[in-house]
């Protein structure tokens, strides 16, 4: 079984509004799966369906080889975007309560809590009330509650919001550690740099439809334009330009370099990079030669603007 979670043609309608239109996903076991999309695309609807908070109108969800059913809430950990805790309840009691709801026994929950509290350096908070804590502190508690019952599938919706850079890093390391231990993670965020850093699979939902899905490297390959950023020192600029415009599409480039070189973006089309390189070396000193790989941010913006209508 290579996929932990399979979503088959899920449809969800709210009145006349279609929130999800036959969306299908495959989340491989042990991956960090980026769930991307602009606001209102249907990400939260999908996450709520996976968490069995709402039911799909049609379609099917398979978790770990089984059809999704109520007992599965115990194998999922969910950190919603809109999250909070009972403000007047003590931290320890609250965590115990929420852990017991996920099916842990009281004793087991206590052991897990002590482990996590120590790990995140928050042992002293047990008898504090949530209203005495700062927002970031409360977020840490929520993270603990989410992972405490050792879920196979973790769903994080904007996990880093509300954290300072130091704590965001702590949480990021914890997420990676959980992945090492075999958990599968669905990660929904608008922060593309963290997608770039963490995810190995992504999917993009826009206007209730899935537009892209796949391994991050495959998606990037699919979106690459065969362009190269080139820096070259040459005495004969006109000759060089004449040569390359014969074969390739050229536009000026902008990147930082220590040399006073000519900076170009060259799209090679069907030709090989070596052909370009061969041509360049004949005309001068190559100081910079990089294939332009589209960033997740570029892919996101490009796809969303292309599918505006």
């Amino acid at each position: 079984m290579s996929n932990l979670l399979e979503v088959h043609k899920v449809v969800k309608q709210y009145g006349d509004y279609v929130a999800l239109n036959e969306v299908s996903l495959n989340v491989p076991k042990g991956s960090i799966y980026g769930l991307l999309g602009p606001n209102g695309a249907g990400k939260t609807s999908l996450i709520r369906i996976i968490n069995q908070i709402t039911l799909p109108d049609s379609g099917e969800i398979i978790l770990d080889g089984e059809k999704l059913q109520p007992k599965h809430v115990q194998t999922i950990g969910y950190l919603p975007e809109e999250r909070g805790l009972y403000t007047s309840m003590k931290v320890g009691e609250q965590c115990l309560y929420l852990a017991q709801m996920k099916g842990l026994s009281k004793a087991e929950a206590k052991i897990q809590l002590e482990y996590w509290f120590e790990r995140l350096g928050i042992q002293g908070w047990w008898n504090k009330k949530i209203q005495e804590l700062s927002k970031g502190m409360a977020q840490k508690i929520q993270f603990v509650v989410c992972v405490l019952h050792k879920p196979k599938l973790l769903i994080f919706d904007e996990p880093f919001s509300g954290f300072d850079p130091v704590n965001a890093n702590v949480i990021k390391d914890e997420i990676l550690a959980l992945k090492e231990q075999g958990a599968t993670i669905i990660f929904s965020t608008h922060r593309m740099e963290s997608v770039e850093e963490l995810c190995d699979h992504i999917t993009l939902i826009h206007k209730s439809n899935k537009l892209i899905e796949g391994k991050l490297s495959d998606v990037k390959r699919q979106f690459k334009t065969n362009s190269f950023e080139v820096g070259i020192l040459t005495n004969n600029v006109e000759g060089l330009m004449y040569d390359i415009t014969q074969k390739f599409t050229v536009s000026p480039a902008n990147f930082k370099s220590l040399n006073d070189d000519l900076k170009l973006n060259i799209q090679i089309g069907d030709a090989t990079p070596n052909e370009l390189l061969h041509l360049l070396t004949q005309r001068g000193q190559v100081t910079h030669f990089v294939e332009k790989i589209p960033s997740v941010n570029d892919i996101f913006i490009q796809t969303v603007t292309e599918n505006k209508n």
Binding site: N51, I53, P80, R83, G84, T87, Y97, Q100
Partner: protein, 438 residues
């Protein structure tokens, strides 16, 4: 531990630990006693006596008024027939007197009946006018009787004073005053249910809103079903409420016993608990009191208590599901007002029906109909129960109540499920209807 009992436990502890719960539980009986004492003190205070001048030109009536001064009353009558009416009227404007009764000299008494005047700056109370009219009328009657040469003592003897004894067809004798006891018992239970529904229904609603504003709701319902959460919340809150009511009852009873011991007053009907006290009571009280006690025992006590529990559970759950659904639909308490009104209305209606219609005619059409309608039956039927209700009516009423209860819980759960995840604008009735279909 099952999830619902986990939720019940949390809700119960959260309510009971709340400072306002502790304060309310122990302070409100004291407050109640203080208010009762204050009202008692106020009513025991004498009102200012008002001086009423009488100008009686006939000389027949003034003494009858002045005689009333012997009884302690609000009014002091002064016979000022010698002083002319003009200066008396002046003294009214100067407020030496609150009022002036002028009885003019007439040729015959018949004419007088419509000639008596009362002058004052403030309009007099109905009781005062009736009293004045009574005094004059009975005096005229007496004079007329004497004129007709009729023996007034003989007439007095001839006058009958009827006192009807009430009895049931089964032959037991019953007391007229017992109806008041029945109304008292039914009313107290009905009122208790209403209070409980309003106080604890609101508490359920607040607790739902709290989870929404805290934004913990999404974390919770990713582990439990919204329906489980709603039911757990309602039961947990009601347990906290029952605890509070029990504490109040215990405090109230002990205060009552303490007070009776302190003032040396016999506790009376409450002493019916043991047969020895029953014996003592029988010797101590007159025959009427004995009959009251006996009649109390003849009340359908078992059916009243069972009815109270059944209607209490049914009514409370029915209404708190409404409250829970409203809490889920809105973001804050101020928005809840428009949805609360239709819930409070039937409650108030049933109390009014109970105190006006049931009291006059416990088995009339209105009383019977409203003791069947589920939204009013918990209160109206409870008020009818002490008067004896045929079992088939109870059966219909209870089954209607519980059928509605299940229906409402189902609807409320649907609204609840959608509402708890909706933030932002205040929903309309139309939107709530749409949520039912999601």
């Amino acid at each position: 531990m099952s999830i619902i009992s986990l939720i019940i436990k949390r809700e119960f502890i959260a309510k009971v630990r709340n400072k306002s719960f502790v304060v309310m539980t122990f302070l409100s009986p004291l407050l109640f006693v203080a208010i009762a004492g204050f009202i008692g003190y106020l009513s025991s205070m004498k009102a200012d006596t008002k001086r009423i001048a009488i100008h009686d030109e006939t000389g027949f009536f003034a003494n009858d008024f002045v005689k009333q001064n012997k009884k302690e009353g609000e009014f002091k009558y002064l016979n000022l027939s010698e002083i002319d009416t003009k200066s008396l009227k002046d003294s009214i404007t100067k407020e030496n007197f609150s009022g002036l009764i002028i009885i003019p000299k007439t040729t015959n008494l018949k004419e007088l009946e419509s000639k008596v005047e009362f002058i004052s700056n403030n309009s007099p109370s109905i009781v005062f006018i009736e009293n004045t009219q009574d005094v004059i009328a009975s005096k005229i009657t007496k004079i007329n009787l004497e004129k007709a040469k009729l023996d007034t003592t003989a007439i007095q003897k001839a006058q009958a004073n009827v006192n009807i004894h009430l009895a049931k067809s089964s032959g037991e004798e019953s007391l007229k005053g017992l109806n008041e006891i029945k109304i008292g018992i039914g009313g107290a239970f009905g009122y208790l249910i209403m209070m409980f529904i309003i106080i604890y229904g609101n508490m359920v609603m607040r607790s739902v809103i709290e989870e929404k504003t805290n934004r913990i709701i999404e974390i919770i319902i990713s582990s439990v079903k919204p329906f489980q959460l709603m039911i757990g919340k309602i039961i947990g809150t009601s347990l906290a409420g029952l605890l509070q009511f029990t504490i109040w009852a215990v405090i109230g009873l002990s205060l009552m016993f303490a007070a009776s011991a302190f003032f040396g007053v016999n506790v009376g009907p409450t002493a019916r608990i043991s047969p020895e006290l029953m014996q003592a009571a029988q010797q101590e009280f007159s025959g009427t009191a004995q009959m009251y006690i006996a009649e109390l025992w003849n009340l359908p006590i078992a059916s009243i208590l069972v009815g109270f529990i059944v209607y209490f559970i049914g009514g409370y759950f029915l209404y708190s599901s409404f409250y829970a659904a409203i809490g889920a639909a809105v973001d804050n308490q101020t928005d809840s007002q428009q949805f609360l009104l239709p819930i409070i209305m039937p409650l108030i209606l049933s109390v009014y029906i109970g105190f006006f219609t049931v009291v006059n005619d416990p088995h009339g059409t209105v009383a019977v109909v409203f003791s069947m309608i589920p939204l009013t039956s918990p209160i109206v039927m409870l008020m009818r129960l002490p008067f004896g209700v045929p079992w088939w009516q109870i059966a219909i009423s209870v089954s209607l109540l519980f059928a509605t209860f299940f229906l409402v819980v189902w609807f409320a759960a649907k609204i609840y499920r959608v509402g708890i995840l909706m933030y932002g604008k205040k929903p309309t009735w139309k939107e709530l209807y749409k949520w039912l279909k999601y």
